[in-house]
Amino acid sequence: MATKINPAYYGPEDSFVALSADIKRSTYSIGGLFTNGKYTGGSFDATAAPWGIGRSSASSDYEFIAQRDSTWTINKIQRSSLNTPLYLYYKSDLYMGANSNADFQGGDVTSENYERAMFRTRTSPDAANDNGTLRSTSSVDAGAAVGLANVLTNYPITSLNYQNVRLYIDHVYYKPAGESTIRKCTMNDIEADRVSVDRIVYFDCRLTYNTATGTTPNSTNVHLTIGGNSFDIPDIFKPVYYQESSSWTRPWRFLEHFGYWFIDENWYDQDSFRYGSTDYINYKSSWETLGNSDFVNANPVNVGWSTLSDIQQNFNGLVYHWESGLSVYASDQWNISEIQTGDTYASGTVRTYAYLVIDEKPDDMSSNEAYFAAVLHECAFLGFPIALNHISVTHSIGDNDIYLPVFDEHMITTGEYVSGPAALQLINAEWTDIFGVDMPEYDPTYEPEPEPEIEDYGDTSNLGSPRGIFPNGVNIYVMSGVEYNAFIAELNSYYANSTPDDWTLDFQGVNPADYILAAYYTPYNFAKSATQSNVQIGNITLTSTAYKLSQGEIGVDPPNKWKYFSYGTRQVKPLFNDFRDYEPYTKVELYLPLAGSIELETSFVMNHNITVEYYFDVMTMSGVSCVYRDNLLYKTSDFKLGAQLPVLSTNMGAIQNTIVQLESSQKANSMRLAAGALTAAGGIAATIATGGAALPAMVAAGTGALSLAGSVHKSDELNYQIEHTAPSVAQTGAAEPMNNFSVGQLMPKLIIKRPLMLSTLNNSIYGHTVGHACCINNLIGNMSGLTVCSKIDTSGIKATVEEIQAIKQAFANGVYV
């Protein structure tokens, strides 16, 4: 049985349709892991170094929500102003320590820059372990804010992207164009004023990071405030809608400004705090050990959440939403005294410690009832049970003041909610954990069918293990340019230096060109671990050296798999969280190095992980790029990783054949001459035997001896012929185009084309006058503001036919409810 989870956190985007700005989401947000320990004098002051999960405050101080020394303890949370208009909580991974400046995606941030920014960098860091020596602390305090501002000014904050270090911007203060006062602002302000040149935004920032070298944090300055410093927003940091730089890697983070960020479970899972293969701060496990649900403290919305009684848990609250102007926020009784203990949700008692308080009806809501309905609607979409007040939180499900969200057959929230006895009929009435992490304990009789298009990938699960054939019986060498030139030169050097005997003795019948199967130019570096050896062609061992690849270096787990490398995974994130994130408004392309660009179906990849893997065959240097959507092989595209090169070498075989033919011819002539000489010698003997009667024949014998001398002369001629034999050249392969390699982009890139709104758009006025398209089935009385209906059931209205028609026509055009 598939693990069931609360769709409020894991469900598709439809779950969050109503997560609009209808509700302010309180003032508290969760901080990251940090320590307030000091690193001074070259050592870490452990006594002053508790670490835990914290938050920033409006001051330059910070405080822990949860703190760990020997065990976890929970600190009381002080509630700051409920009217804080904006907690941006922009999260950006910030470089810390390792490798080089190039790790900044935004550009070449010098060490000076980020030291000034108080990111305690390390000298001579080891790329794998990041265990260099901490830099001097002399500038830790001085100029920190200025330094950070400097970095932010020159480099987009979204480019500060690395593990371990996180940059939070808690507040944004804003000086609109033409105004002299500074006020806390919304992103709408920035958006509306983006063409202004005198924009000033103040960031109240803090930095948090966890150590990269061990379980003991060893750094400091995890929090800083630069509220007193200001800087102009450079062009590169103009609102996200104008950002076209490829360095803007995660613009969707701006969605967090709209109160969506807390649903991103990836934020606080333990991988976020993993460096290499080690979990240095696995606070998640710690919490779970103590019986807490998952994502505790990672989730700022804890309405309806239950804990065990021995944990004093505060709530980090709902992210206050600046946009709506509504006055819903976390309970002002937000402290330990409100903690309920000993109750069991499963027994029918709601255990909520934080809850929404509807303070007063906002001006733009027509009535208290409509406002309350909107609040309940939002909470229901979030999947939370709702108690009407701090008294009713201890009441049981089934009471009229306890509301439960309604889930559909796919366990997706609908925004509907019920209270009273009807709530007891809901499957979530018996959940032991509202966040669903205990769902395996939940055994409902109803087992929804999985969505085939989402989960059923058929029999493609084995596609991740492509198989191929390892090219046995060949030698594969990797050469540098110098080595390759030397190799070619050696192939052609034997001709000049060889004597006729060399041809036959050294090459032993080998024609080098016949033993060179292929030569390629490739941008791929094979020679990481290969060993260097002399190049072998046939029986000949050349003096040229190269890296000879072993099977293991040609294929992964050979001979069953092909050579492979992965480009990793990226997620296609929505920007708007509405219809604009899909076609035809948003289009997604994927550039594949050496293979070209392919178009991805936006609706198929949005909110999904895209993984790119390359498999290739070394023999032909051709391959296939595999694009996975999650675990599903989605698309493939052929590519060439190498361009074949023509190899010209002296045709040793042809020369050898010529030599052999010449020598054979010469030998045949010699044989004929020798036969003549023998005949002459016989004549001499006969003359002696005959007492000189054969003297004339001696004359002939003398002629034969002269002919033998002439044969010696012919041997010189043979050498002359050999030496002047035109060299024959053999060619292996032919030139292939390698234009693809000239494209500098050798990293896949998702290219997302998103729509841009007209600058004249006022979303609020648009919603008020035109209305946002939707499909809501509800009672008219549950709506507020402009309401346009395609169909309305007027049964029950005691009116004339003319009036009924007029009512229907009015709602077709839009009525302000």
Binding site: F565, F579, L750, I752, N763, G781, S790, D793, G814
Partner: protein, 152 residues
């Protein structure tokens, strides 16, 4: 037939009007003919109420018809107020209408939904281009050239 006069500033297409600004009330004079319930024309004596106020009223409730009306007032030669009304079916049946189930295709939400909205003012020729680089690079080039030679 009692008529209550109001000044209403709400848009005609607002379901429930704000009728807190009551101008006054008056009894209609006996009609001389048939009165259309949906578009009534009634006469009110000037002296009965503060005529100066009523003449400027734009909204009324007629108890006999149990309906609200958008009205226009005039004065006849006998200085009687002629009230011409057009029924406001939204306000009249607001309570019942609110109980009606409906399929709402547009609503005053704070942001767009996943339902495509072809009226939304999307820029026709400007776009946001976002490039997302992948994070793991194979070993390309490494500062030198590479040749692969395959022999036997």
């Amino acid at each position: 037939m009692n008529i209550t006069f109001y000044n209403v500033t709400d848009s005609p297409n607002k379901l429930e009007k704000d009728i807190t600004h009551v101008i006054g009330s008056a009894r209609a004079l006996a009609p001389t003919g048939q009165i259309n319930v949906l578009n009534p024309v009634v006469t009110v004596a000037w002296d009965n109420v503060n005529g100066d106020s009523i003449i400027n009223a734009n909204y009324a409730y007629i108890d006999t018809f149990q309906r609200y009306y958008w009205i226009n007032c005039g004065i006849d030669t006998a200085k009687r107020i002629i009230v011409s009304g057009k029924v406001d079916y939204l306000m009249t049946y607001a309570a019942d209408i609110k109980k009606c189930p409906a399929t709402i295709v547009r609503a005053e939400l704070t942001k767009p939904t996943y339902v495509p909205d072809n009226k939304y003012p999307i820029h026709p020729n400007k776009f946001i281009f976002e490039g997302v680089d992948f994070n793991t690079a194979p070993d390309f080039y490494s500062g030198t050239e590479h040749y692969v030679v395959i022999t036997r």
